[in-house]
């Protein structure tokens, strides 16, 4: 336990050596999170990569419309010193731009594309970041932003099934049996198969 705790301490020392993080939260002996400035991200990623955090596990964003910010998250992992490092940085929401990290972690290419598609964050430096990946012919604001309402979108675009009969049993007691009979009848009528 002491050994693995010292891994977290090691990361903390490494980060503090370079920058002063706004927030440090130690989640457990295998995970630590830092919140840093936007312009420090590349420096820290490079430092962490040189220190052995060679795997980029996850890249995504969180929308904070209240603060008018996007929070971009990088999760890194080192297989020899098993610590997950979360680096978070807040960027402006109205004009979200953050430099791409594919020079440092080439595997981030598609994460950035996805992030652009779902949040609208631009990643200059990534040659394909503006191309569509998962959605096709999308005609609304990026869907993972908090002000996007999927229910309204779905109601607007897709026809809903309308039910002509009401089978809920919450009404008065006397109609219960009748309704059940009706429901059974309808179920019978829907049945295909050999019985008919």
């Amino acid at each position: 336990m002491t050994n693995s705790m010292s891994n977290v301490e090691f990361v903390k020392a490494l980060i503090i050596q370079h920058v002063r993080p706004h927030v440090i939260d130690i989640i457990d002996q295998h995970q630590i999170g830092f919140e840093v400035d936007q312009n420090e991200i590349h420096l820290l990623l490079l430092a962490l990569k040189n220190a052995g955090w060679i795997q980029m596990s996850y890249l995504s964003a969180i929308d904070w419309p209240g603060e008018n910010k996007f929070e971009v998250v990088y999760v890194l992992f080192n297989w020899d010193k098993p610590v997950y490092v979360q680096l978070r940085t807040k960027i402006d929401r109205t004009n979200p731009v953050i430099d791409s990290i594919i020079q440092i972690y080439p595997g981030a290419k598609y994460y950035e594309r996805e992030c652009h598609e779902f949040f609208g964050i631009a990643f200059p430096g990534n040659p394909d970041h503006h191309k569509q990946l998962i959605l096709e012919q999308w005609d609304d604001i990026p869907p993972l932003r908090k002000d996007f309402d999927p229910k309204a979108y779905s109601d607007r675009k897709f026809p809903q099934r309308t039910y002509t009969e009401d089978y809920s049993l919450s009404n008065s007691e006397s109609t219960k049996v009748e309704k059940r009979k009706l429901r059974k009848q309808r179920a019978e009528s829907l049945k295909g198969g050999k019985k008919q």
Partner: protein, 192 residues
Amino acid sequence: MKSTKFSLATKLSKAEVDRKWWEIGDFFRRNSLWMLMYCTGCCAIELPPAMTSAYDMERLGMGPMATPRQADILLVSGYLSLKTLRRLIYTYEQMSEPRYVVALGSCPINGGIYHDSHAVINQLDQYIPVDVYVAGCMPNTESVMNGFVDLMGQIKNKQANGWKKYHENFDWYKANQITSLGEVDVHDEFHE
């Protein structure tokens, strides 16, 4: 006095002859249903048990087919995102007639667990006609098999005529497709 037993039936009209031939065809069609393996969604995970040794679909004369041209059943296995629906419509229109559609799971019926999703359609029979729905999330392999047996019964009773409906109401179906999809045929500009 002619014997009634072996006398030839009176001359059948052309429509009746056609009907007889159609019934003979139906016998073959329902006993040899080939399905198109298009895993549109998660219900496809219950198909391997149905196809392989556990439930052995081949007993019923069914089997997976590689391409839409060869297949009789379009098996819509689960939810349909918009992107899949486009390809599903191409696929459906490629299949040779008579063609049947079996939809597995709750999602093609009314959206199921994804009823409020921005990417998943709510009701499949607005876009293409569906012959058999198998409800459940996910439906058991037994109910999947039962769905196929139901389809066979429907073919026997001449109820499985979704493909005729598609011809008759083609404009209605196309209009619905365009409302939801914008454009049905898109050039795939990904990476280009």
